[in-house]
Amino acid sequence: MMARSITADPELTTPAPKRPAVRPKRRRNNTWVGILGWLLGILFFFPVLWMVITSFKTEAQTYTSTPSIVFSPTLEQYKTVFDSGIWPYFANSAFATIVSTFFVLLLATPCAFALSLRPVKKTRDVLFFFISTKMLPIVAAIIPIYIAARDLHMLDNIFTLVILYTAMNLPIAVWMMRSFFLEVPGELLEAAEMDGAPLRRTVTEVILPVVAPGLAATALICCIFAWNEFFFAVNLTATQAATVPVFLVGFISSEGLYFAQLCAAATVATLPVILAGWVAQRQLVRGLSFGAIK
């Protein structure tokens, strides 16, 4: 049996201590690598930076053929954004995101458990089925969904979004959680089994603490996708249940200047997820790399 240990955390800042001393040649290379890294980092980040900078300008300052980097900033665009009543949209987005993510975890965790630690026949087929549900372009199904929602009187109802977001994120969550469950070391399971622990105890005391970071990572990914979702939101909501992406789109005016206020609205709309991603970076990295896979 292969020697296994708890998976290495892909956190970058602490290298494994067992490496031999770094030779001077590599340190020089790293300087150039570092410079390149910084350049690319700033380059990739620049559109976001420019969006935020523009949000502090007036429209007149924005529509100049030479972009102004030095200017006196103003909060008037943000005032417009907040005066347009963003809070209900925020609340709707938060509600749909959090509740759907809870549902996703609730459904995906046992499912992934069954597919990993306690294997079922045709695991591959089930996994493929889940992923295949993401292959239907939702544009094609929107009219049936719209009509179904209308018949059930679920139009402009935040729970409709909750249900759809849950279905939207479930496949990816199942795949992710399964990989985290597969990381649970065999020794732990064997030990628990030999102790004669009941299944529930095994799960809650042994397995869940190990996959808890994985749960957090999955939750973060689901939150990101749910918060940013546009198509269902704009088609199935009207006044009560509209979410932040719908609010943002309302700032595109077909008449007049709107770049700066659009940037302000975009900044506000996208800020929560960016902050969440930055703060929970380790979870994000972990989640997107599906756990460091052996």
Partner: protein, 465 residues
């Protein structure tokens, strides 16, 4: 190992909620969800709704944004009615409103449509007849609306939607630049004259284009001006037997002229420049002329958003055959038949399209914010009369000169100046407008674009034969 139900003595992992309470909450939420009502945060934020809630779907243009910002005045006058707005860009708003109304979804109580939808939807029985409400509202004075607008929004003599603002099209130009160049723009120019002036004024080094013309795909974007050009060159979409005419010589001449004018003397990014982009370009001093909607004055004459305010001259929409060629378009408000609170919906519509609203907008937000081209009386208000001196009369005249029933020289089986009032036109018009945009982008010749458009048009025409 058999599964035994262990007592829940072990403390659950903090990473996961207690499943039982969560399931209970979820079940309760599901029950609430299925009670079948609109549920969302708006209710929480508006402190619950005692009285009626009216859901309004409108397009996110500046005049409508003004109305939203003033809507608290309406709510003050009508404490029992609460307003919820959905404001979306034009294409998205249209898609949403049409889906809702045509499937009787009932999401909205008031919808902003136009003189494109009104004739068709009223014939389908999807809209409430507003005439009784109008007659029962003293002081509303529906006869104050411009007669062409009233005609185009009526079905069998009754109004089924009421105009919020109306527009035709005309030519806007920089009076100061023309004076400096010694050019006199005729009051009723032909397209040839416009082309010559554009050629003389076009100066890329100085960042000045000869003329701004729409190129953005969309049946309400580039196709609006292009259709007026087609009409004024004597062209038409169909003959009386529903044979598509898009490859006829008149149409080819018209479209070739438009395409080459934009390519030679038009704004950069023309293939994706719609009203908004042109407004920006002209309003920041980048163009000598702009042929577009009369409602553009709200942007270019507003010192807040335009650097050319007060420096503009106006002329009739250019024409080739002497017939007035301006288009006719109005954003209007209607009530879908699914609305459960028709009186409350009408109260709001009446407020937003009333004479007093116009006065309020002028006094509160500035007279350049007045929704243009809907009521005669707007242009009688002293402050607005003064402000709109250069463009007001021409706006009214342009609207009044339109003839949606007979928009073309040769007889046609459809109505509408810059669109065809058939349900398929949204799709057909968009496809054709995309061909036009591709021609402007130089991806194909105007003739090739028209050949492809002819195929689309013939497909639709066949269903009408």
């Amino acid at each position: 190992m058999t599964r035994r139900d262990a007592p829940l003595g072990a403390t659950p992992s903090p990473a996961v909620l207690n499943r039982r309470t969560f399931l209970a909450g979820a079940a309760g939420g599901a029950a609430l969800a299925l009670t079948g009502c609109s549920i969302g945060a708006k209710q929480i934020f508006t402190g619950g709704s005692s009285g009626t809630t009216i859901a309004v779907a409108i397009v996110s243009n500046s005049q409508m944004q003004d109305a939203i910002s003033l809507s608290h005045l309406f709510e003050r006058e009508h404490p029992n009615i609460h307003l919820n707005f959905v404001s979306l860009p034009e294409n998205e708003a249209r898609a949403k409103i049409t889906t809702d109304v045509s499937t009787q979804g009932g999401e909205f109580d008031v919808v902003m449509i136009s003189n494109y939808e009104t004739p068709m939807w009223s014939a389908n029985g999807w809209l409430v007849n507003l005439q009784p409400y109008i007659n029962a509202t003293p002081g509303y004075d529906a006869n104050d609306f411009l007669p062409q607008l009233r005609a185009t929004l009526s079905h069998k003599g009754d109004l089924y939607s009421v105009p919020f603002y109306g527009e035709s099209s005309f030519l806007m130009y920089r009076k100061d630049l023309m004076a400096k160049a010694g050019i006199k723009v005729p009051l009723r120019p032909t397209w040839n004259q416009v082309g010559e002036i554009a050629a003389r004024m076009h100066n890329e080094k100085k960042g000045l284009v000869g003329i701004c013309l729409r190129g953005d795909p969309g049946w309400g974007e580039n196709l609006a001006p292009i259709d007026t050009v087609i009409n004024s060159f004597g062209g038409r979409w169909y003959d009386l037997a529903w044979q598509a005419q898009l490859t006829s010589p008149e149409v080819e001449r018209a479209v070739s002229m438009y395409v080459s004018l934009v390519q030679k003397y038009g704004e950069p990014g023309a293939p994706s420049a719609g009203f908004s982009e042109c407004a920006t370009h002209y309003g920041t001093g980048g163009a000598a002329m702009w042929y577009d909607a009369t409602s553009a004055v709200s942007t270019i004459e507003d010192p807040q958003s335009s650097s050319v305010a007060g420096r503009n001259g106006y002329a009739w929409a250019p024409t080739q055959n002497g017939r007035p060629s301006g288009w006719l378009y109005t954003w209007s408000l209607a009530i879908p038949t699914t609305c459960p609170n028709k009186q409350a919906a009408w109260d709001f519509i009446a407020w937003m399209t009333s004479k007093s609203y116009i006065k309020t907008v002028g006094e509160t937000l500035g007279w350049s914010h007045v929704p243009p081209g809907s009521r005669f009386s707007s242009y009688q208000i002293p402050q607005y009369k003064k402000l709109s001196a250069t463009y007001g009369p021409l706006t009214l005249q342009s609207i009044n000169a339109t003839n949606t029933a007979h928009p073309t020289v040769k007889p046609v089986p459809y109505t509408g100046v810059q669109f065809l009032d058939i349900p398929e036109f949204q799709d057909l018009g968009t496809n054709v407008s995309e061909q036009m945009s591709a021609a402007i982008a130089g991806q194909k010749s105007a003739a090739a674009a028209l050949s492809q458009s002819q195929l689309y048009a013939q497909d639709v025409g066949n269903t009408y034969k």
